[in-house]
């Protein structure tokens, strides 16, 4: 690349003979010694640490890795096992499923929402806060064209971007001549099922479980990345001259009309959806069930009813929808893989250490003295 282009071997200076190595050729001035400096750097003698992979360093390293990983793995495994998690698929693929009809009869234009409800039983009570997720499968939120189809300036409340969204939003940039707010495929495909949870107590009455819809988005998303144009005052005016996304039933300033802190671009359901998933099967935080008192479990064991307002079609592309309830520990949700992986890797290291030790002792014919074949 840097093509050390050779200059032609001719050079005027050299013709002059100034270059000739003989000292004193030019008389005066040639006495200056051209001896290179005696610095450690130039003589390549910088002090250096020269590690060698000897049995004395490698084998202990293996044992140490093993000894660190196995306890961590056990700890992770136990923690993960203590986490309660419940998952229910409500897509309605199966004809026996309660939501079958909703799933089949879906049309974008229907004005009356289709609802269905599913029964399930929690075998064990869920202590502490419970997190409610919705999960989608086979939904490619990580597709390149999908990921880039948004305008962060617009979402950050930039008034010019609001009126003139980025080209990346195509084909969801304008609708009927008006700019779409929020524009792009991500916003357009906002998950809009509504989930409600009812506990069926021992005498058969349905008790609605309060679901908290705030605090589900990242702090930076909520407070930095997403902002309404003109602040949060009078969103209807702020969004005037824009159009709602094609798939949406209502404009963005009506996402949560009751709470101005959760409306427009800073609606947390919207923010959560806009944080695209890395994999085609993903879950997103939907609601939080706060623990009420220290004595009763947040979700006692027993029968529950999940009521779904079925708005979001996934069957067309063979997608699935799930509802997940989970408790949380210091390491997050249930994650058995990590613990098992740590235990496995730790054991392998330990085992390798033993094997290498045996090999080293059996085949090592090098004693400490210098044995340099030549």
């Amino acid at each position: 690349m840097i093509t050390a282009m050779m200059a032609s071997s001719y050079n005027a200076k050299e013709e002059d003979g100034h270059h000739s190595g003989a000292a004193g050729h030019g008389g005066a001035g040639a006495d200056k010694s051209r001896k290179p400096d005696n610095t450690a750097f130039k003589q390549q003698r910088l002090p250096a640490w020269q590690p060698i992979l000897t049995a004395g360093t490698v084998l202990p390293a293996f044992f140490v890795i093993g000894l660190i990983f196995i306890p961590i793995g056990i700890g992770l495994y136990v923690t993960s096992n203590n986490i309660k998690e419940f998952e229910i698929d409500y897509t309605g693929v199966d004809s026996k499923s309660e939501c079958y009809a909703c799933a089949r009869n879906f049309s974008w234009n229907s004005t009356t929402p289709c609802t269905c409800s599913m029964n399930f039983t929690l075998e064990q009570p869920f202590e502490s806060n419970v997190f409610m997720y919705y999960g989608l499968s086979n939904f490619y939120q990580n597709h390149r064209r999908y990921v880039k189809s948004r305008d962060d300036s617009q979402l950050n409340g930039d008034p010019t971007a609001l009126k003139d969204p980025s080209k990346e939003c195509e084909p969801y940039r304008t609708s009927e001549g008006l700019p779409i707010a929020p524009c792009g495929a991500i916003a357009n495909s906002l998950f809009n099922d509504t989930l409600e949870l009812h506990y069926v107590d021992s005498n058969g009455t349905k008790v609605e479980i309060p679901l908290v819809k705030k605090g589900i988005a990242w702090w930076t998303d909520k407070h930095v990345k997403f902002r309404n144009p003109n602040g949060n005052t009078n969103l209807t005016v702020a969004f005037q001259g824009t159009s709602k996304p094609v798939n949406w039933g209502k404009p963005v300033y009506e996402l949560d009309p009751l709470d101005p802190e959760n409306n427009g671009f800073i609606n947390e359901d919207f923010i959560v959806w806009m944080r695209t998933a890395a994999l085609p099967t993903f879950r997103k935080l939907y609601r939080i069930i706060q623990k009420k008192s220290s004595t009763t479990p947040t979700l006692p064991s027993g029968r529950y009813i999940l009521s779904i307002t079925y708005n979001y079609p996934v069957l067309s592309f063979d997608g699935r929808k799930r509802m997940i309830l989970s408790t949380i520990s210091w390491m997050g949700g249930k994650n058995p893989f990590l613990g098992i992986a740590y235990i496995t890797v730790g054991s392998i290291c330990f085992f390798l250490g033993v094997v290498l030790l045996i090999i080293h002792h059996k085949y090592d014919n090098r004693n400490t003295s210098a044995d340099i074949p030549n």
Binding site: T3, A7, Y10, E15, W49, E170, P280, L338
Partner: protein, 1339 residues
């Protein structure tokens, strides 16, 4: 440069003083341009040049692809930032280079010269000189253009020039004008001169010119003798006038300085191949993913359109797949990042600087440091297999010293009694005020003989002072400077000067001398000049008394047969002396005179004149006439001149040969000299099984000789192997065989590996051993071939035979070769052996060889600097070659290989993650990482640590790699980076990418933050994978770095720190607020890196990536350690031991003492030869005295007929293929392997003498040294290998006294020269003759 050239000239017509006429032909002016650009053309031309590089164009293509929105999977700046960086760095470099070229051009073009314009001399700039101008040159001026010499201040239009810049020869040359023009002395006459020259068009032949001068209706033929070429310097001539024939770019100098052929290293070529492969790999990956995309879009994507419609122009999955292919080409292009090429150049530049900075390659005498003139070849220095060396000026100093002489049957200058004190240098000043103080002679008997007035001695020196072609220059009274055509002649005249026969000055007709303080002037009647056929020169002089005498000096073969019969007795004695001298490697000349009567002279000179006038066969006629008079001469004696070897040449050659580098000497010298030098620099040794001489004159003859040689080699190597087996059995019987046992099995393996191969197909007709058998010839052979035979051997059908024969030999000497043949030999090896060749030389005649070899090394010595200008590396001493190759070359190779391995690894690990991710993102060319990470990964996050490794890494320190030349072998065998290694790196990279993708995938897909938000969002995933990647590759570089200097620490830790800080900055709110559309990742780093699960994931991925690597490395190191590993390990152990020092001091001390004495013995017995080691004849005295040079006769020396006389260097050489299992007593460190520990003395003979007394730090290695020498003795004491250890050993008494002697030696510590070693040796030999005989032992 870009001027339209007229069609090539057929012939050149130049009319003097007629610019109008000459302008018709549009000859080039004398302005030279070596620069490439000017201010306006720089940008376009430079960019055009840069985009001729495939890689640059490739990246430009990628950049264009990225501008298409449907394809663009990365932002445009991921490519343009590195590309712009690379282009601008290169442009700046080119611009600086060109600036200096402009400057030097200007300097040359603006030099003043005196031009004759309209009858007056005017000052003109060089660039304004035109063809046809007449210019005036003064003494010591550079010749401005190629001139036809018209007249000069000297009589006969003679002038003297020095052509050092042109052809590298330092001696002065004489040029003479055509007789008719030499009278045109003054400017007026010259202004009227209107002759026309018709000559050949411009060419680059320095020694040929052919033209005709037409003037006043007459024709005069012109030759090179009439030409002054640009670049020459006028000497010893007050002024001269010349007619410009060729100017500027047409001059022979400029015609000779074409662009140097751009040399590429084998790593370069391999790298290019690999890059091509990677590119194919990239296309394959792209295809796979495109097919995946097609399937996905058809099966899933088309259904998913309600949420994600296709882009407007995309209407089918096929088209989508097509676009996706290009998108993936963009994403995956980082497998060959642009930074690869930049980094390689930077590393090479660093290595070049280290070569320039090396103090140990600095010659203080000539104040020259080594110089890497090419920065692109460094790693090739670590792979050299063949060295082609010039002799004169390279192996030898090209300094001739008058060493010995034989006068009237009496030899002078013999080495004095070795037992006596150091002979004193003779002081000539009291005797002769004109003596040259630098002249050294040690035999005062000769001076006595001169003083006494012995007439033969006087005549001898008179001859030397008269019979020569030396020019003298006497600046002030008594301050004589001789300018000799050849250094030997200068040495002879200087000798005569010091012995009282001072040559003062000469005129064409007289020679003035001062004989014993009395000025004498001789009339010079004739010079019968030297040529290669006559091999002698004579002068005929008339002394003041009027006697005419012919003095002749020449090769003894020529001279002795032209002597008067009465000289028979003297001739016998003298030729004995001559043989002795020749055997000592001295250059000899015989001297004779003849008295001529007036009539003889008259008749002869008449015949000579007529011969001189003859137009045809002038040369032959003259030679015949000369022959007539050079008869019946009276022998005076003979001289012996020593051709001094450069410092450290034998040691260097020994070390190089231990490093498995074959050294070939290609010299223009005659066979005898070449062979002598071969012996003196240890290329040829007495240990060699046989030295073959190929000197046939016909094709058949040469073929025959080559075949015979091969036949013989096979026979000898077979018998040798049988011998080995016998010995091996014997060794089994001896007890105490721990070390020996292993050796033997190895030997047996070797034997088994060498079953007679089936008849080769190369030369089926050949009765000689098939060529492929030649590959595994064991035993050491030498080959000497002369230029004549070489010409035949280089013919197409003989090539293969010659190569196979020559390559089976350890040493090859080609003598009497032309510069072209030198290049041909190099090309031959390049072609047939595919080995890396290095040519080293100092003269203009080596340029062709230097240019055609892979690496050209110029010795900046005496013969100008033409070779240096053509070379890739230059330094001033041959011995620096070992450091250049074994230290710098080895390191460069190692570093470059490690760099490349790691570089490909890290980019595959980085890029292939996208491939795996493709399967989960609908093959949509979504990147895993943030675009900024992709941009910065190669140029910021991972570039510096790998650069630091590529520049600073060392596996073993420099002194160790000189100590164990075997460490050089991996480079020759190309072991460290080849296709296999490349695939291993790639595999490792792909493995890492799999781990880096699937571990986060498995962990994060269902994981949530501790606050409940899922972790599987794209940005968290990206940050986790990127962080894991950076950490894994940093751990990997930490494992790869073997030499952690402070810089490595700073770079590795710094890169990690930089990664985190840059990431946090890019994900910060501040940047997002300014450019909300550019920094999507706001807050991701903070929120991700606070999650314990993320760190657990990174740790897990790192462990899974590193543990297998660690395991394999450890196993490799533990079970199959490379030599370098062992050396490293030994050093570690040594360091540890030093810490524990003192504990076992007593025991070691004893061991050291006992073995040390043997070390002394080994050293002594080896260097008993003379300083230049020609005493290898010792023991063959009869052969010498009978006049046969036994070296030339093929002496069959069996491998076990080992000679105690071999020097320690020989011993070392022999160790390379240990002829005997070296079984030593078990208690010491295994000596057989540490033999090489004795090599450091090679570079510094002092340490051999030095020993452990004053260097306790080197204690360990010293014992090793000493032991190894002890081992080296064991073949001599053959039958009883285990014997020589105890203190009661017969050797140990005498050497201790020698040790005392040497300690009591010069106070300057141990900086003894080889000569001092030798001297001490002589001393020792005297004190312990019995030991000597004992050590010779059973042979």
């Amino acid at each position: 440069m870009f001027r339209n050239r007229p069609p090539p000239e057929e012939e050149r017509r130049v009319r003097a003083n007629d610019r109008e006429y000459n302008e018709k032909f549009q000859y080039a002016s004398n302005c030279i341009t070596t620069s490439k650009y000017n201010i306006i053309t720089f940008l376009p031309v430079n960019l055009f040049e840069q985009f001729q590089e495939v890689a640059n164009t490739y990246f430009l293509f990628l950049l264009i692809l990225q501008l298409i929105p449907q394809i663009s999977s990365l932002s445009w700046f991921t490519t343009i930032v590195p590309l712009a960086l690379v282009l601008s760095i290169t442009a700046i470099k080119d611009a600086t280079d060109d600036y200096f070229r402009h400057k030097s051009d200007n300097q040359v073009n603006n030099r003043q010269s005196q031009v004759l314009i309209r009858g007056s001399i005017q000052k003109e700039k060089w660039m304004n000189v035109r063809v046809g101008d007449i210019i005036k040159l003064e003494n010591n001026q550079f010749v401005a253009a190629d001139l036809l010499l018209l007249s000069s201040s000297e009589p006969h239009g003679l002038c003297y020039i020095e052509t050092a810049e042109l052809d590298g020869e330092t001696n002065m040359k004489v040029r003479q004008s055509v007789s008719v023009t030499c009278e045109l002395g003054d400017p007026n006459n010259l202004a009227a001169f209107n002759g026309e020259v018709v000559c050949e068009p411009p060419n680059n032949k320095l020694d040929r010119f052919c033209g005709t001068l037409y003037w006043k209706d007459r024709k005069y033929s012109l030759t090179n003798q009439n030409m002054l070429l640009r670049g020459c310097v006028l000497r010893n001539t007050e002024f001269c006038y010349g007619l410009v024939i060729f100017a500027g770019p047409d001059t022979k100098l400029m015609q000779n300085s074409g662009r140097t052929k751009f040399k590429r290293t084998s790593i370069d070529r391999l790298m290019n191949t690999l890059v091509l492969w990677i590119f194919c790999f990239l296309v394959c990956m792209g295809m796979i993913l495109a097919v995946g995309n097609a399937v996905w879009e058809r099966e899933v994507g088309s259904l998913f359109q309600s949420y994600l419609p296709w882009d407007p122009p995309v209407d089918s999955f096929i088209f989508s797949a097509f676009l996706s292919f290009w998108s993936y080409v963009i994403i995956l292009n980082t497998v060959v990042p642009i930074s690869l090429y930049v980094s390689v150049e930077v590393i090479r530049l660093g290595h070049s600087y280290f070569i320039n900075w090396d103090r140990q390659m600095f010659c203080s005498q000539c104040n020259t440091a080594a110089e890497a003139r090419t920065t692109t070849l460094n790693e090739e220095l670590g792979q050299v297999e063949y060295i082609f060396s010039d002799k004169t000026g390279t192996l030898t100093q090209n300094i001739m010293t008058f060493n010995k002489c034989s006068i009237n049957g009496q030899t002078y200058g013999e080495a004095t009694d070795p037992l006596g004190p150091q002979p004193k240098k003779l002081d000539f000043t009291p005797f002769n005020s004109l003596a040259d103080p630098n002249f050294c002679f040690y035999d005062d008997t000769l001076l006595e003989s001169v003083k006494v007035g012995d007439c033969c001695t006087h005549e001898f020196f008179r001859l030397l002072s008269l019979c020569h072609t030396v020019m003298s220059e006497e600046k002030s009274e008594g301050e004589l400077v001789y300018k000799a055509q050849s250094p030997d002649e200068g040495a002879l005249v200087t000798a005569a000067r010091n012995f009282g026969f001072v040559f003062r000055s000469r005129t064409p007709g007289t020679i003035s001398t001062t004989e014993m303080g009395r000025p004498v002037t001789y009339a010079l009647l004739a010079i019968l000049d030297f040529n290669n056929i006559r091999k002698r020169m004579s002068v005929i002089v008339r002394n003041p008394e009027g006697r005419i005498r012919l003095y002749c000096k020449g090769a003894d073969t020529m001279l002795l047969e032209r002597l008067h019969p009465s000289n028979q007795d003297l001739m016998n004695v003298t030729s004995d002396h001559l043989n002795e001298y020749a055997a000592d490697g001295l250059r000899t000349l015989a001297l004779a005179y003849r008295d001529l009567s007036e009539e003889q002279w008259e008749t002869w000179s008449e015949r000579q004149r007529s011969a001189e006038r003859a137009s045809d066969c002038r040369e032959e006629r003259l030679a015949a006439v000369y022959e007539e008079i050079e008869q019946d001469m009276m022998l005076l004696g003979a001289t012996a001149i020593e051709d001094k070897l450069q410092e450290g040449v034998p040691e260097t050659i020994a070390v190089l040969s231990l490093a498995n580098i074959k050294v070939w000497v290609l010299t223009g010298d005659k066979q005898e000299t070449a062979v002598n030098i071969g012996y003196s620099c240890k290329m040829l040794t007495d240990d060699m099984a046989e030295v073959f001489i190929i000197s046939g004159n016909t094709v058949q003859c040469v073929r025959q000789e080559l075949r015979a040689a091969r036949q013989r080699m096979v026979e000898l190597s077979q018998s040798r192997e049988e011998g080995k087996e016998v010995f091996a059995e014997a060794c089994f019987l001896t007890p105490d065989l721990r070390g020996g046992h292993r050796e033997v099995t190895e030997e047996e393996e070797k034997v088994e590996q060498q079953p007679p191969s089936p008849v080769s197909s190369v030369s089926p007709a050949s009765p000689a051993p098939p060529l492929n058998l030649m590959d595994n010839i064991s035993g050491e052979f030498g080959l000497v071939i002369n230029g004549h035979s070489l010409a035949h051997a280089l013919e197409a059908d003989m090539e293969a035979e010659f190569v196979s024969t020559a390559c089976a030999c350890k040493a090859v000497i080609c003598c009497r070769v032309t510069p072209l043949q030198k290049a041909q030999v190099v090309e031959l090896i390049k072609k047939h052996k595919r080995a890396v060749t290095l040519a080293v030389g100092d003269g203009a005649n080596d340029i062709s060889m230097i240019k055609s070899a892979h690496i050209g090394v110029g010795i900046s010595g005496q013969e100008g600097n033409q070779a240096v200008l053509a070379s890739d590396y230059s330094f001033s001493q041959f011995r620096f070659l070992q450091r250049l190759l074994l230290v710098h070359g080895r390191w460069s190779y190692l570093r470059m290989c490690r760099f490349l391995c790691y570089f490909f690894y890290k980019n595959f690990a980085f890029t292939m993650v996208h491939f795996w991710f493709g399967f989960f993102c609908g093959f949509s060319a979504q990147t895993v990482y943030d675009q900024y990470f992709i941009t910065l990964y190669n140029i910021v996050y991972t570039s510096l640590p790998v650069l630091a490794m590529g520049i600073f890494d060392q596996d073993v320190p420099d002194d160790r790699s000189l100590e164990y030349p075997k460490l050089y072998e991996p480079g020759q065998l190309n072991l460290l980076f080849n296709k296999k290694e490349f695939f291993i790196c790639i595999a490792q990279g792909i493995y890492t990418s799999v781990v880096l993708f699937f571990v986060p995938y498995a962990v994060l897909s269902d994981a949530t933050q501790s606050s409940g938000e899922p972790l599987a969002d794209y940005q968290t995933f990206a940050v986790t994978t990127a962080t894991a990647l950076v950490i894994v590759v940093s751990v990997q570089i930490a494992l790869d770095t073997g030499y952690w200097t402070i810089i490595n620490h700073v770079f590795i830790w710094g890169s990690l720190g930089l990664y985190f800080s840059i990431m946090l900055a890019l994900h910060s709110q501040t940047l997002f607020r300014i450019f909300p559309n550019q920094f999507h990742f706001v807050g991701t780093a903070q929120s991700t890196l606070l999650q314990p699960v993320v760190w657990l994931t990174i740790a897990l991925a790192t462990a899974i990536c590193v543990v297998p690597v660690l395991t394999f490395r450890f196993l490799k190191l533990d079970l199959r350690p490379q030599l370098s590993d062992t050396v490293r390990y030994t050093q570690l152990v040594r360091l540890k031991k030093r810490k524990l020092a003192g504990r076992s001091a007593g025991e070691r001390g004893w061991r050291g003492a006992s073995t040390m004495s043997e070390g002394r013995l080994g050293a002594r017995s080896g260097s008993r030869r003379s300083g230049y080691a020609f005493a290898h004849q010792e023991g063959f005295g009869e052969l010498i005295t009978s006049g046969k040079n036994m070296r030339l006769s093929s002496l069959v020396l069996g491998s076990f007929g080992s000679k105690h006389s071999s020097s320690w260097i020989d011993t070392l050489r022999r160790k390379k293929h240990p002829p005997t299992p070296t079984c030593t007593s078990g208690d010491c460190s295994p000596a057989p392997s540490s033999i090489c520990a004795s090599v450091p003395p090679l570079s510094n003979s002092s340490s051999m003498m030095g020993g452990s007394q004053d260097t306790p730090i080197e204690e360990e290695s010293d014992t090793a040294t000493v032991q190894s020498v002890a081992v080296s003795l064991s073949p001599e004491t053959n039958g009883a290998p285990a014997a020589p250890q105890g203190p009661g050993h017969p050797h140990s008494t005498a050497p201790s006294s020698a040790a005392e002697r040497s300690q009591a030696g010069p106070p300057a510590g141990w900086t003894l020269s080889l000569g001092a070693v030798q001297e001490a040796l002589f001393g020792w030999r005297n004190t312990a003759p019995c030991t000597n005989s004992a050590s010779s032992g059973p042979t």
